[in-house]
Every structure is written in C-alpha cells, then in structure tokens.
C-alpha cells in the first residue's frame, strides 16, 4: 500500500529509512541535512523505529561509528552534506574497501570557502573516487525510492558496498512535494533482512582493516575496481525489481525527449526538472532539443550513456562544480573521456551553472540550448562557460 503525501525530501528519506528498519543512525548536524536526522531521532524516540540513534561529535565520528556498526552486521544509515562529507573523506575509503554496505543520503551543498550553505555538487564531485556506489535523485519521490533501493543494492552479496544517495540541498531537502509513501510491509517485501557477506563474529573471528603491504595492495585495489564496475549488473537488476514492486522505473541514465533530438543537454540532480520544462517549451517552438540525465554516477554507466546520446552531433554538459586548474567541469571531463575512443562522438560543450546556490532559471537553460545550436552551426566548440556569471 502506498499513501499520497506532501513531504519534504528530507522527511521522505527519514520515513523510508524507518520503514527499512535500520538498526543504527549515527549523524552530526549540518545544514541542509538536518531535517533527515531530526526526523529520524523523533521516529526513534517515539518508538516507531527500533534503532539506536547516535548523536556523535563530528562527521568523522559519524562515519567511523557507521563502519563499526556495519562491521558487526547492523543495518546502518547516516546523512551529511558539504564540509561534513569532506570531513568523512578518510573513512569513506575504509567503508568501501571493507565492503561495509552503509547507506548515506548526501544533501548536496557547496564547499567552503567562502562559507556557503547553499546547493551545488562540489561536495560529491570531490568524493568521486572513494569507491562508493553514487546515485542522484531529482525529486522527493526519487530520493525516498532510491534510499530504499540503496539498502537492497548495498546488501546484495554480489555487491556489499556502501551507497551514497545524492539529493540537492534546499531545492529538495527543504521543499515539500507530493509523493507516494509505501508502507512498511511493502518496503520490507522488497528489502529482506541483511545477511552480511562478512562480519565481525566472535565464533568466526576475522580481522578488518589490517595493513596491505606492497605485495597485496595492488590486488586489493584491482578487486575493488572490479567489484564496483561489476556492481552495474546487480544495479540494473535491483532497479528492475524495484520497478516491478513499486511501479516506478529508474535507469542508470535517464533521457527526456532525446530520441529525435538535434542537440542534447546532460544534467544531474534536481535541476533536470527545470531543464525538462525548457525542453518542452523549445519543442513547442519547433526546436528538437532533449536531455540526458545521469542518475548513476558510480559505477559510471558508459554503455547507457552511448545509447542515450546516440548519433546526436552536439552534447552540452552542465556541471555543478569546478575541477580547479583541471578540465573545468568534472562531469564533462568524464563524458569527454568516455567518448574519446568512439568513432561516433558528439561535439561536447561545457557549462558550469548553479554554484553555491546561484539560481539557474529557465532562461539560463535557454542560453545553453542556444549555445549548442550555435556550436552545431559553426562547428566551433566554445570554451567552458560559467552560466549566469556576473562580470
């Protein structure tokens, strides 16, 4: 059974985490993640969620507690943002290397300095290489659904890796949206109790996290790379099972009116929905524009991307972060690399938009589409552009 409710994405995530019957929530407050954890603490205090809520002294401790609880087989959830995610950095590698299936909701926010509490993707882009499965939600429904799915995937014994659900700070965390909230029976029918692949157990002692001397370090890294890449199969499989169970379909790469498109724009996260509105308006005016929306960021779904882009001659990529002194847009640089060896590859135009909470209105997407058409007509690829920059 599902109930139609108006909920903030934050509250929606907390509610589904409760229905997933987690054992432990360990977290430290940081804007804009706070409502997730506050609501979970209420659910625990009200006896609706039989779990231990651990209000730790920092995010470094939060992720360390999560590693400890997951290591003994407790279903573990946390949530953070920005500086908090950065402070967890060291432990994120440990969680993935030890194959601890922690689920974490990241309320995407910009990194200091200057101090900014507002939304962009600089936090998650900085944690690109930590070995976690990383997925993006575009609205409250997706944030809740993907959180349920994350536990299922993380605990899949073929995977046994931590999962990060990214949902945009304020745009989603603090916005009330209509959504369908499944009940506990429905969630638990999809999410069986966790049977850990490995756990600390006095009867069968193992050691987690010891030294990897040069003789074996390389092999462990190869295994990690192999596991995360191979997680793609179980990801698609479990997303399909989710679709059968909940009647909502999610794919590693989503598209919007892309089939006959002359130009495509690649987006991630909540701003994709603004972009869809612009696509509809342009289509009404006769311009065949479309979207490619990256949902699964790690493992990167190369084949899905190639299929989604097809033979379109011009592809724009909107980044919400900057790789300073490097290739400018982190997502764009990956997409360029993905197409490098392809015979059929589009001209790729880079846009940076929505840094530190800067609004990206419909008109900005309009400018991006205009630039893509100009690129198509002239054949000249413009330098990476920061949209909405005040000069």
């Amino acid at each position: 059974m599902e109930q139609r409710l108006g909920l903030e994405a934050s509250i929606a995530i907390a509610e589904v985490v409760c229905r997933c019957d987690v054992d432990i929530v360990a977290a430290y407050p940081i804007t804009p993640q706070t409502h997730v954890v506050e609501h979970l603490s209420e659910l625990v205090a009200d006896g609706e969620l039989d779990a231990a809520f651990v209000p730790v002294e920092s995010e470094h401790s939060a992720m360390s507690v999560c590693c400890g609880t997951a290591a003994v087989g407790a279903r573990t959830f946390t949530s953070t943002a920005a500086q908090g995610l950065a402070l967890m950095h060291e432990i994120l590698f440990i969680a993935s290397a030890l194959r601890l299936p922690i689920v974490m909701a990241v309320a995407n926010r910009s990194l200091s300095g200057p101090i900014s509490i507002w939304n962009d993707h600089s936090d998650v882009m900085t944690e690109r290489d930590v070995g976690w499965v990383q997925i993006f939600a575009e609205n409250a429904q997706e944030a809740a659904d993907l959180t349920i799915w994350s536990f299922r995937l993380a605990e899949d014994r073929r995977v046994s890796l931590p999962v990060m659900v990214n949902f945009d700070g304020f745009i989603l965390t603090h916005t009330i949206e209509p959504m369908l909230m499944p009940d506990k029976e429905m969630v638990q029918a999809f999410l069986p109790p966790w049977e850990p692949l490995l756990k600390l157990d006095v009867d069968e002692p193992i050691s987690m996290g010891p030294v990897g001397i040069p003789d074996i370090y390389t092999e462990t890294k190869q295994v990690q790379q192999h596991l995360l890449t191979q997680a793609y199969g179980p990801i698609v499989e479990t997303l399909n099972e989710f679709a059968q169970h909940f009647k909502r379909t999610y794919k590693p790469i989503e598209t919007y009116r892309s089939d006959d498109a002359e130009v495509l724009l690649c987006t991630m996260g909540a701003l994709s929905e603004t972009a869809m509105e612009v696509v509809d308006r342009r289509r009404k005016q006769g311009q065949k524009v479309g979207l490619v929306r990256i949902r699964l960021w790690r493992p990167f779904p190369f084949e899905d991307l190639y299929r989604a882009v097809g033979n379109v001659p011009v592809l724009g990529v909107m980044d919400r972060a900057i790789s300073f002194g490097g290739p400018v847009g982190p997502v764009a640089s990956e997409i360029k690399a993905a197409f490098y060896h392809r015979e059929q590859r589009p001209k790729i135009v880079e846009f940076i938009a929505g840094l530190g909470g800067r609004d990206v209105p419909l008109s900005d997407f309009g400018r991006m589409f205009d630039s893509l058409y100009t690129t198509g007509e002239t054949g000249k690829i413009p330098a990476p552009t920061i949209i909405g920059l005040r000069e």
């Binding site: 430290y28 804007t31 954890v37 506050e38 603490s41 205090a45 002294e57 101090i115």
Partner: protein, 287 residues
C-alpha cells in the same frame, strides 16, 4: 556634531555588516559588547589583535568585529589560532566560538591546546545547543533538556567546561553569564593580558531555540534566571561547577596559575639541551 557614534563599541564593528543575524534576546551581542570594552581596558593596540572563530552563531563574531579576523571551518579555530600565534608571537590571538564548535567537532583541539598551553585566549559562548542548524543536541546540553534530536530529553552526560579546561591544563579558567557583564569584561581583560591558554565560558541565552524548546522563557527571562540562580564562587573546585537543567550556575574565576607556554617550553627544553647553540624562538610573552 559630526562623527558622533551612537554606541562606544561602534568603531570596532563592521557597520556595513549590520543588521547582524543574531535573534532578539540572544546573548552573543552582549559578549561582543563586553569584549570591545575589555579590549579598550586592556590597553592592547587593536592592530595587534586577531579574532578567530569557528562555525555557528558565535562564529559570526569574526565577521562583525573590525579587527583582523578569520572565520575557520567547523571546529578548527583553535589549531588555526595556534598556528597564527606561533608564526606571529607578538599578536594577541583570541578565539570566539560556541560550545558546539569548540567542544564537540573541535574538542580534540581544545584539550591539546590546553595541554600544551598554547598562548591563545578562548572565549566559549555556551548556549547548550547547535543553534544555527536548528537546535540539535550538543556536548553541553543538560540531561533532560529538549533538542530536535532528543525530543524527549537528552540522556548524554554533558561536559563541565571549566573542569575540562582545568583538568587539561588551562592556566586561566572563568565562567560568567551574559548577565555578569562587568565580571565578564574583567575576566576578558585578565585573559587577554595573561600568557598561556586561557578559557572563559560564557553562559548565554538562545531564546529562539534552546530557551523556547525547554520552556525557559525569552532573553529577558534568561537574564532574570541568571541573576537569581548564579552564585559567584571564585576559586571554586571546577569538578563541582557542572550545570543542570534549571539548576544553579556557579560563576567566577576558578583557575589562575602560571606555567610555561608552548613556545616558552620549547625554548626551555632546547636551551637546556643545546645551550648557547640554541637561538630562542620569540614567544611574545613578557613575564
């Protein structure tokens, strides 16, 4: 009548940043007032003062004072201040931050700076909650106090901050409330002029979050409470000054002792081992 200031603290404030973000009845503005008066009384050249703060409501002080200031990330003002002091020993390096910043996420820095007697002064505004993020339970929240993450009351034992600072080695430890403006100002002067790690806890009301959730009334009610329930016991055993919800508040100057600062200790050790070969590092300390 040109250049007449409305308030004597105004020359020390960045008036272009006003209005400030603090709520009506918040105690942090009083702390700023006391500090500016203390700075005047201490006779220190404001050009030789640096203000370091962390994240949170109190952290905003660094942005509002017209002095060299640095607004660090959450929990890091103390190590930043130690670095600044070591590199420029002639400066007075003052840390303003809240208990959520200094004692939880930055707690490790606090105890080690006290242990090493880093020559910095820490003014810790304790309002018992993470106010800026909406009122989650913090490291000094009294048992049974309500926070957004402890909806039926906190069950974790809170830190007794004067005892923490005392036991880890601070050379000056005091506690006042924002009602005790003259005593607080005097303690700030003493701390500013004293070499070594000085720690002043300032109990301050947070009417919007802490007071409201715990049915403790507004900012004025907090002042009445501080007036009625504070007991001045200078030299009190810090072990005995822990706070309870709606309990008495023991205030006063608890600790005032002398020992070598971080840089003095380094000079003493190296001089004793290396003798005349060692060129002492400037400490900024006049004894």
């Amino acid at each position: 009548m040109k250049n007449q200031h409305i308030n004597p603290v105004e020359p020390y404030l960045r008036m272009d940043r006003m209005p400030h973000i603090w709520c009506p009845g918040c105690g942090i503005g009083i702390v700023v007032n006391c500090f500016v008066r203390a700075l005047n009384q201490s006779g220190i050249d404001p050009d030789l003062v640096s203000i370091i703060s962390g994240i949170g409501c109190t952290g905003r002080i660094a942005g509002y004072l017209k002095l060299d200031s640095f607004h660090t990330t959450h929990g890091r003002p103390i190590p930043f201040a130690t670095g600044l002091k070591v590199a420029r020993p002639e400066l007075k390096v003052l840390v303003f931050s809240g208990e959520g910043d200094l004692v939880s996420i930055g707690g490790n820095h606090l105890i080690h700076a006290a242990r090493r007697n880093s020559d910095i002064k820490v003014f810790c505004v304790n309002n018992f909650t993470y106010a800026m993020t909406g009122g989650q339970v913090g490291p000094t929240a009294p048992i049974h106090s309500i926070a957004t993450t402890t909806p039926y009351g906190s069950y974790d034992r809170p830190f007794n901050l004067p005892f923490l600072a005392d036991s880890t080695g601070a050379v000056y430890v005091a506690r006042w409330t924002t009602y005790h403006v003259r005593q607080l100002t005097r303690s700030m002067v003493e701390a500013i002029n004293k070499p070594g790690f000085c720690f002043v806890e300032i109990i301050a009301p947070c009417p919007t979050i802490y007071q409201r959730r715990n049915r403790l009334g507004d900012g004025l009610e907090a002042m009445r409470y501080y007036k009625r329930y504070s007991r001045v016991i200078n030299g009190a055993n810090t072990r005995m000054v822990g706070l309870e919800l709606k309990g008495p508040i023991i205030v006063g100057k608890f600790i005032d002792r002398d020992r070598s600062t971080l840089l003095e200790a380094m000079n003493e050790e190296f001089s004793s081992k290396l003798g005349a070969r060692y060129q002492p590092y400037p400490t900024g300390v006049v004894r």
